[in-house]
């Protein structure tokens, strides 16, 4: 996983406190709105996101940059590839 400090995040969505599948839905909406090559971060406190978000990114053929754990939540970072 790359160093978070070296990644330029174009948009960050705070989906903490939102329940499954809320954070994933925020990510999907965010990706739709983002220009190609843009980097999106979604903050989630839902334990389901750890598997759901990478699974969706793979299915949608975008680039999963990483899941960065923070205090009580995780920052999921992905790049829109198409």
């Amino acid at each position: 996983m790359p160093d978070l400090k070296e990644i330029t995040i174009d948009k960050e969505i705070d989906a903490r406190g939102s329940f499954c599948p809320g954070p994933l839905m925020e990510l999907i909406r965010g990706m739709k709105a983002l220009p190609v090559a843009g980097v999106l971060a979604v903050l989630s406190s839902d334990p389901g996101s750890a598997k759901d978000i990478p699974a969706w990114i793979q299915k949608a053929r975008h680039e999963f940059i990483g899941a960065f754990p923070e205090q009580g939540y995780t920052r999921f970072v992905a790049r829109k590839t198409h």
Binding site: G17, S18, F19, C20, P21, G22, M25, I28, W56, A60
Partner: protein, 138 residues
């Protein structure tokens, strides 16, 4: 086989509608074609505006009803209706009303929430569901 998920929503209680709506959202998010067949109490729950006052919970878990509703409000969990709307927004979701229930309950398509796509018979639904990968009765 199509990448399709078919849900038969028979129940009209909030707990089961919630489960159905989350499954529909997951299916839509993962790129499956989702078809929902509303019948009996499941269709009754889609009467225009009815979801706003529906507080029913499965009989077996009735004593948990008030706590569940409180928790859902406190934690701002989206309603099952919002989930279905979100599912339609991110993917391909169609919601069909069972024609037999429509007759039984004297309903017309205009009496239902606008997210109900069309009225269909059971044969059509089964014909389409048989080509799918996942079929669930809720």
């Amino acid at each position: 086989m199509e990448e399709r998920m078919s849900l038969i929503v028979f129940s009209g209680t909030v707990d089961k509608l919630m489960a159905a709506s989350i499954l529909a959202t997951g299916g839509a998010a993962m790129g499956l074609e989702v078809e929902v067949f509303l019948t009996t109490w499941g269709l009754e729950a889609f009467r225009k505006g009815g979801y706003k006052t529906n507080m029913k919970i499965s009989k077996d878990f009735e004593e948990y009803g008030p706590v569940m509703m409180e928790q859902m409000m406190a934690k701002k969990v989206p309603s099952w209706m919002e989930n279905f709307k979100n599912a339609m927004e991110v993917g391909e979701v169609k919601i069909y009303a069972c024609s037999m229930t429509m007759e039984l309950f004297d309903m017309k398509l205009v009496d239902l929430e606008p997210i109900v796509t069309d009225v269909t018979g059971v044969a059509t639904f089964v014909e389409r569901a048989k080509e799918g990968r996942i079929t669930l009765f809720i």
